[in-house]
Point group: C2
Chain length 208, copies 2
């Protein structure tokens, strides 16, 4: 038998205690603190907090929207798959439209990526929703374009695309956008579906 901790609850407890001991979390409101801790838990890097930025109302707006039962709109199935259904306060729908059969044609028509084109199928669901982008910068840019086009905005945006081309720019565009969407971002190249799903899971429930 190898010697390691097998008690899942104890692993969680010690993990969160380690994060709180090492990460600079002072000054964060309680909901955002919860979100940041769980994002760090998902990536193993306590310095992630240095790149995280959120609008003042993000935590309250996101939490309130989820409790009211709004849908959670995800850019990829990996993000959707990472949302823990039992944590959702109102059996919220978790939606990913990327594999809809119409998306390939829409992408060609709009001259954009499939991930961005998939947002066309969000138009009815978008107002008041919680949006989670964990992968594609083009999805985050497209969200801003939809809002500029006059679609009523989501209640909160978790904007954490990852990568080398457009990711940092898309997150800066969200953070600085005149529509002043409630948001959390990870500035720079870091991000990804695990972190994004972790942020939803933290917003959804205070349970650790």
């Amino acid at each position: 038998m190898i010697d390691y901790i097998r008690d899942g609850a104890e692993i969680y407890r010690r993990s969160f205690a380690t994060i709180r001991a090492e990460a600079r979390l002072d000054g964060l409101d309680p909901v955002l603190e919860r979100v940041v801790v769980r994002m760090i838990h998902a990536c193993g890097m306590v310095d992630l907090v240095d790149d995280i930025a959120a609008s003042d109302g993000f935590g309250a707006a996101g939490e309130r929207a989820l409790r009211a039962g709004v849908p959670i709109l995800c850019d990829t199935s990996m993000v959707a798959s990472g949302v823990t259904r039992s944590r959702l306060p109102a059996g919220n729908d978790v939606v990913c439209t990327l594999s809809d059969p119409s998306v390939r044609g829409l992408a060609a028509e709009l001259g954009t990526t499939r991930t961005a084109a998939a947002l066309e199928l969000w138009r009815e669901l978008l107002p008041g929703s919680v949006v989670v982008v964990g992968n594609a910068p083009t999805a985050l840019f497209r969200l801003l374009e939809l809002v500029e086009d006059g679609v009523a905005p989501p209640a909160a945006v978790i904007g954490i695309p990852v990568g080398f081309i457009g990711a940092a720019e898309s997150k800066a565009a969200l953070a600085e956008h005149p529509a002043a969407l409630e948001h959390v971002v990870v500035h720079g190249r870091r991000g990804g579906s695990a972190m994004a799903a972790a942020a939803v899971n933290a917003l959804a429930s205070a349970a650790e």
Copy 2:
């Protein structure tokens, strides 16, 4: 209209070019180079390569096994969801047993986490398979225990659990294990399902 690159193929091309320009990839065999590039692509960090270690035969063994049609055994549904089915060379089964109804009882019986207990349902599939652990250190430890118990080993192990309690230790245990499993790991706390799925996707196909 916001100004950004909308051509998915061009985004991929520039992303991989950026990674190859910035990351220290010399000395890696061609398959491992592909795996490392795609893992970096999934997390946005070119210094990830400094923490990646693989056995000499990992790339060839993993590629050969996938071409032969072995199943891909994943610790979480998020990893399974991140495997791009169209890249798989032989329509390989992608298996995650974590949500099987028997797992909760097995975990109580074995005194371990659900993620580790889920490996009990891998016993028949394990010999010659490709194992992917992107989340739970206890799953990786449990894999080593199954091999110590005499279960025939997988062909290759992608061992990339993330986090603060047991993650680094479980990856060190895999890398140093006397059974000498073919493996790739990310030493330290970093890891996660996105990176793990990216490693599978790179092993599965040379297409970028």
